[in-house]
């Protein structure tokens, strides 16, 4: 009974934000001091609630609240390591984003509305991660995108703002439908919406392959793909800087995670399917490549960050597809903090540029040096792996992520080696590379331990998955090699032409634009500016 009370008390956090959203109906305007005061206190309290929930889960493990449902479909809170992990992350980021908005939006004659909508969005994400029942999960899923929609249209008169919101609306509704389909199938099969009962149902009859579970898993995968703006539905995400910076930060660090979170939440279902992982691997892998290449061709800070987010979402879902959920969640959480900071500090770009008036050592692009650096990166990594006692080769899926780390370190070391900068730079880079590898092993282990009970253990992947795994690895590796040799290629004509195609997002966006009649969207007068116009 006491634990039940604990569990329910976590609801304080979303409730506080709901209260802010309601208050904002009455304190809509300029410099809403009282609303700001309430929001400030609430975001502190939310962090405390998150801390408490961490302690509770550490103490008691999985906790479920009493269920308020109709035929087992309805509302319950589920506290486990996965939900608490993401819940804490959301609350930390909400704190930062809220705090940022107090001064940033100062002087806007609808600051109250802004804070209210921000709070509503935060509350819906919190409810999503706390959901213990499919019914609540779906409702929160829909709510996140509806509340986000209202934030995207904060300056609702702006033509490009409407356009982005319209594209997002289409992707989000499709995603809602897919998830609804999956939920109907699961509910039909198990006769309950309770997640725990579904999971234990699956565990007790692991090999009872059922087409409805197969389809449900595929639908979940598609819902996640749409929610996280994977190629080719990514267009809206790179356009949402039509709304103030804190929204971008919250979106990229919070809401976008809903896709990978859903897949991890339903990982026991996903595991029973053969098609769902393949969907994730194909879409995720391609988007990871597409996004990270397109990122390099963008000239505007926020737009580039948008492409970067797409690629990281793709990568997270790719890892989910390979069945390495712990690595996927580590990536997700790390990416959130990284991206929140990147957006909020995007105004510092000029400072960075000013500091770079120092010439770089000449690049030599000497193949031998580059090969040495790849070998060095590999040595550092495998040496540490040996010391740490892990064997990436044995755990095939872990091999993927390990290879990627080695690739990254090769580029880091390669850039330093391939220059006339001297020994000091090299030793510093090697030290950093070692630190990065160490951080990776410890965090990976930590995340695996934390999430152990909530995700399936890494298992032998199917043949199809294994083939795909090697396919992507070869492509990834090839791309990294090309980049190491890029200084020699960059003035080639064909190279330039491809950069134009990638800068235009391989035209997926143009087609989406045509689909939604982008040319016919008009600027309108209402709420397009931060000031009350005189006439």
């Amino acid at each position: 009974m006491t634990t039940d009370l604990f569990t329910i008390s976590v609801l304080v956090s979303p409730l506080l934000f709901v209260v802010i959203a309601i208050l904002s109906w009455f304190i809509r305007g300029l410099r809403p001091h009282n609303l700001i005061r309430v929001s400030r206190i609430s975001s502190y309290l939310a962090i405390i609630v998150a801390l408490i929930s961490v302690v509770i889960v550490y103490q008691f493990g999985l906790l479920e609240s009493q269920s308020y449902d109709f035929n087992n479909l309805g509302f319950s809170i589920r506290l486990d390591s996965l939900s608490v992990l993401i819940f804490s992350m959301i609350n930390l980021i909400s704190f930062i984003v809220m705090r940022f908005s107090f001064n940033y939006m100062d002087g806007d004659n609808r600051q109250g509305v802004f804070i209210g909508r921000l709070a509503a969005t935060i509350a819906s994400v919190q409810l999503l991660v706390l959901a213990g029942n499919l019914g609540m999960l779906w409702i929160a899923w829909v709510l996140t995108s509806i509340s986000l929609h209202r934030l995207l249209l904060f300056y609702s008169g702006r033509r490009r703002s409407k356009l982005a919101a319209r594209k997002k609306f289409i992707a989000a509704r499709l995603s809602d439908l897919f998830l609804l389909g999956a939920i109907v199938l699961l509910y039909n099969h198990f006769g309950t919406g309770n997640l725990q009962e579904i999971f234990s149902g699956l565990k007790s009859s692991p090999n009872a392959l059922d087409p409805s579970i197969e389809i449900a898993a595929a639908l979940i995968a598609l819902a996640a793909i749409l929610k996280s703006a994977l190629f080719p539905t990514h267009a809206w995400l790179v356009e949402v800087m039509e709304t103030p910076t804190p929204v971008s930060a919250l979106l990229h660090a919070g809401l976008l995670n809903a896709g990978p979170f859903l897949v991890a939440r339903m990982s026991f279902v996903m595991m029973e399917s053969t098609s769902a992982p393949i969907l994730l691997i194909v879409f995720g892998g391609f988007t990871a490549i597409f996004g990270s290449i397109a990122y390099m061709t963008q000239s505007s800070v926020k737009t580039a960050l948008g492409y970067s987010s797409i690629s990281h979402m793709g990568f997270s879902l790719l890892l989910c597809g390979f069945g390495i959920y712990a690595a996927a969640m580590l990536h997700l959480v790390a990416h959130s903090f990284y991206k929140a900071h990147a957006f909020l500090s995007s105004g510092s770009f000029i400072d960075v540029k000013k500091a770079s008036k120092i010439s770089l050592p000449k690049r030599t692009a000497n193949p031998i040096v580059l090969i040495i650096s790849i070998i060095l990166a590999f040595t550092i990594f495998s040496g540490l792996a040996y010391l740490w006692g892990v064997n990436p080769i044995e755990e095939l899926s872990l091999l993927v992520i390990s290879c990627i780390i080695v690739m990254g370190l090769s580029l880091l070391i390669g850039t330093a080696f391939d220059s006339s900068a001297g020994r000091k730079l090299i030793s510093r880079v090697v030290a950093m590379a070692t630190l990065v590898a160490l951080a990776f092993f410890s965090l990976e282990t930590l995340m695996g331990t934390i999430l152990k009970s909530q995700i399936p253990a890494i298992s032998q992947p199917s043949t199809a998955v294994t083939i795909l795994l090697f396919f992507w690895l070869i492509i990834f590796g090839g791309l990294v090699l090309i980049q190491i040799f890029a200084p020699m290629l960059k003035n080639k004509d064909i190279w330039q032409r491809w950069s134009i195609h990638f800068r235009n997002g391989l035209y997926a966006n143009v087609l989406f634009d045509r689909l939604v009649g982008a040319l016919y969207v008009k600027t309108s007068k209402e709420e397009s500016d931060l000031i009350k116009r005189y006439d």
Binding site: F349, K354, I405, L412, L425, V436
Partner: protein
């Protein structure tokens, strides 16, 4: 009957085309990148015409507004900032409009439709196409051009691009247009094909395009200028390259090349969408361009607004000149001046100077352009190249390196900075290259969680301070300037002795400081403090081209303390006593703190003076902050000092300070005349004593340099206020830094120029009132007329009412206002003023 245009009649030669492109290009004012955001008069290429005619022209061609909306002025009447009497004066002057009195004018005003002002009458092909199909081709074209231009001019963001500017503007664009499939996919069938077939030479391509569009000689200039105004941001950015080429004597014209690109786009749209309706509508559009010329002044809405604006200017001038009538008792009389402090003419200095003088009667302050007459290119320690630190009007003369006096230490710092740079480059490649970024995020991303919190609470900066990066606190304090003239790795750095003497002499004369030197003379440059602010350099010293004035102050004081320089100055009858010491300082306009540099070099004999200065600047800072904070929305009555300081290191702060918002007058006079007057931080103050100015060389210098620069700043604020959409940078919360040079408002659209809305507007009121600069000079009227006769460009500004020139007599009263055609008109502040009729005003507004 065919609607197609008979092109054989209107064929331009290539020379004529080039000339037409050049003429249009010259009308575009330059825009500097954000790292040295210099204030520029956005009407720069147009100031040869009257303010009123340009207002009409801009509205006609691009829907640009040059006045505030009607209701703004009505509110000003209510607040007594705009007097009915002044409206009547303007009405009386204006012969084309017949109103008996101000009330009937205002009553009539309220019945008119003012939306027209924002709709351009000139339509481009893209706009004609939009009218026909309601498809937004103009914005599509703008987005494509903007996206390409950001990539072409990108200096910092994207990693996948060619080496800097390998291809000319036009050839690079042509490759883009031939490759990019977006236009075709969006419905401009065969667009890339059409462009491929055009010649590679920009002028020839433009010629073919114009022939195809069938523009004649009369419409062409209007059309070309209008096209540039459609992409005003990028045009201006490109114009700054032309400006700089010009400044350093190179021949280059990129704007006309860019204009060729715009013309080719129009050609592409026209031919891709070609249909009879488009052709006939385009024919009508071309006729409109010349038929409804702006000269006729038929748009009565604009005329009315211009009347209101002029009256608004008049009322503000009354208030300003009224201030000078009041004689203020100076607290300085009979006190011997112990410290002289030279500040920048910047309006923010006025507040600090007044507060300093009021707490310290023994201080005398002077105003002078904040580069102190030393046009340097300043290279930070370890950097390869530097920034020009002088007004954008003149070329920088000397490369000066920053250094740490201890040679060993200096080399260590350079090595450390180079290493940091190389490391951060490698780290950045790891972090942001394709695929490897995944390897970065997983292990490193979590480290940003604590940083989110420390940045949020202002404990750390989001990125290291560009100036202090890699330096310890001690090293920062020991930074000085290296003016020794020498050959330094292929380039000449430092300033030769003869030039030092010349510059010192020029500077002292120009600031009217050639005798009566105090024991301590502070040379106070200024800079600002803000974090995460793309427009930060716009808050720094404008006279130093958007940099902090620290380096110039250091150079000035090193040279003026130099014994050899002083000896040679004495030959020219400038005797600086041995007991005089020049001290370099920096006024932080955000926090009103003044830092003193290299104080360890101050001789023992001056230690007492130094202590006194330290104490005085603390007191002055406190009271200046208390005054400035009134303009900030400070909640409750907390600690002002910490409130101000926390704003300066808050990464979410969009108004760290108000910059030059409010600037509306430029007073050139000895400080004795203005000391004690509260000019509310709205006046640029230049010290000038005409009696010491033989041959009026200094007056000439003031009227051709600081007066131009102050009008640039004033008109930048003016334009950003009256039309933020075209000449401002919009909403700061949507800013998206692009190419490392400017901002977009949101995802796409044109590069934005000018100031963000948040820098002029506080949410309730405009902190900048759009007023044209009133220049008040204490000098003989004939001397000023001589200068106008001599300098056409200055005369243009005054004759065409871009600035108002006023004469002040030796008693400090403003007596005359320049009335055009080299004539003065007597001024009388009280003339024609009646008692305010509250009832009438209430009825009217």
């Amino acid at each position: 009957m065919s609607n197609s245009i008979n092109t054989s009649e209107i064929i331009f030669t290539n020379e004529k085309m080039a000339q037409a492109l050049h003429t249009a290009a010259k009308k575009i004012a330059p825009l500097w990148p954000l790292e040295n955001f210099v204030a520029v008069n956005p009407y720069l290429g147009l100031s040869g015409h009257s303010f009123e005619s340009i207002a009409r022209q801009l509205s006609f061609q691009a829907g640009i507004q040059t006045t505030m909306p009607r209701d703004y002025y009505l509110k000003a009447i209510q607040e007594n900032k705009l007097l009915l009497e002044d409206i009547e004066i303007v009405l009386a002057k204006n012969k084309t409009i017949e109103y008996d009195d101000a009330p009937s004018f205002i009553r009539d005003l309220k019945s008119k439709d003012f939306e027209k002002v924002k709709t351009p009458k000139v339509n481009t092909v893209a706009e004609v196409a939009r009218k026909i199909s309601s498809a937004n081709w103009p914005d599509f074209m703008l987005d494509c051009i903007s996206s390409w231009a950001s990539s072409y001019f990108d200096q910092a963001q994207s990693q996948w691009k060619k080496d800097k500017h390998q291809l000319s503007l036009f050839s690079a664009w042509k490759i883009e247009a031939e490759t990019n499939r977006s236009p075709s996919l969006m419905g401009l069938k065969g667009f890339h094909q059409l462009i491929t077939e055009l010649p590679d030479n920009p002028t020839e391509a433009a010629k073919i395009a114009i022939d195809s569009l069938g523009l004649d000689e009369e419409a062409l200039p209007i059309y070309l200028h209008s096209l540039l105004l459609r992409v005003g941001g990028w045009s201006s950015y490109i114009a700054h390259f032309d400006w700089d080429s010009n400044r350093y004597g190179r021949e280059e014209e990129l704007v006309s090349e860019f204009l060729s690109i715009l013309v080719c786009w129009e050609y592409g749209i026209f031919n891709a969408l070609k249909n009879p309706v488009l052709e006939s509508q385009w024919k009508i559009a071309k006729e409109e361009m010349i038929k409804k010329g702006f000269s006729e002044g038929s748009n009565s809405a604009i005329s009315d607004l211009l009347i209101l604006q002029e009256a608004y200017d008049l009322s503000a001038q009354r208030k300003l000149t009224g201030k000078f009538k009041v004689k203020v008792q100076s607290n300085q009389e009979n006190i011997k001046c112990k410290v002289q402090a030279v500040f920048c003419i910047d309006v923010r200095s006025e507040v600090y100077r007044r507060n300093l003088e009021s707490v310290a009667p023994e201080f005398e302050t002077l105003g002078f352009a904040g580069f102190f007459g030393f046009p340097i290119n300043f290279v930070k320690v370890g950097h390869d190249d530097g920034y020009d630190q002088c007004p954008a009007l003149i070329p920088s003369g000397y490369k000066v390196l920053e250094k740490i006096d201890d040679q060993n230490q200096n080399e260590k710092v350079i090595l450390r900075r180079k290493l940091n740079r190389a490391f951060s480059f490698a780290w950045k490649s790891f972090k942001s290259s394709a695929i490897t970024s995944f390897g970065f995020v997983s292990p490193v991303g979590l480290s940003l969680l604590p940083k989110l919190f420390t940045d949020s609470f202002g404990i750390t900066r989001p990125v290291p301070h560009p100036q202090h990066n890699g330096l310890s606190k001690k090293e920062i304090e020991n930074l000085s300037v290296d003016i020794e003239s020498r050959q330094n790795g292929g380039q000449i750095t430092g300033i030769p002795l003869a030039d030092r003497v010349n510059m010192a002499k020029g500077a002292l004369q120009a600031m009217s400081l050639t005798n009566n030197f105090a024991r301590m003379i502070m040379i106070v440059g200024h800079g600002s403090t803000s974090v995460n602010n793309p427009h930060a350099s716009g808050l720094d010293c404008g006279a130093c081209a958007g940099q902090s004035g620290e380096a110039n102050a250091k150079v000035a004081s090193v040279i003026l303390n130099d014994k050899e320089v002083r000896r040679q100055l004495a030959i020219d009858n400038i005797f600086i006593p041995d007991t005089t010491y020049f001290l370099a300082c920096l006024h932080d306009t955000t926090t009103d703190e003044v830092s003193l540099f290299n104080t360890d070099l101050v001789p023992d004999s001056h230690q007492e003076d130094l202590e006194n200065i330290k104490q005085r600047i603390r007191q002055a800072g406190k009271s200046a902050r208390a005054e400035r904070v009134l303009r900030m929305s400070m909640e409750g009555d907390g600690d002002i000092d910490s409130f101000v300081r926390s704003r300066s290191n808050d990464w979410s702060q969009i108004r760290p300070e108000w910059g030059l918002a409010g600037c509306s007058s430029f007073v050139v006079a000895p400080r004795t005349i203005t000391r004690g007057l509260n000019l509310e931080g709205r006046s640029f103050l230049h010290s000038y004593n005409w009696k010491d100015d033989k041959g009026f060389a200094v007056l000439e210098a003031i009227m051709t340099a600081p007066m131009i620069v102050t009008s640039w700043i004033n008109l930048q604020y003016y334009a950003s206020t009256v039309d933020n959409k075209h000449f401002g940078s919009g909403n700061k919360t949507l800013h998206n830094v692009t190419s490392g040079v400017g901002v977009l408002e949101g995802f796409a659209g044109d590069l934005r120029s000018g100031l963000p809305m948040q820098s002029i507007y506080d949410g309730v009121n405009y902190q900048h009132e759009p007023l044209r600069l009133s220049v008040v000079i204490n000098a003989p009227k004939e001397a000023m007329i001589q200068m106008l006769e001599k300098h056409d460009s200055v005369r243009e500004l005054c004759d065409n009412r871009w600035i108002f020139l006023m004469a002040m007599n030796d008693e400090g009263e403003v007596t005359d206002i320049y009335d055009g055609e080299l004539k003065w008109k007597k001024l009388n502040v009280e003339e024609g003023i009646f008692e305010r009729n509250e009832k009438l005003i209430e009825e009217l507004v």
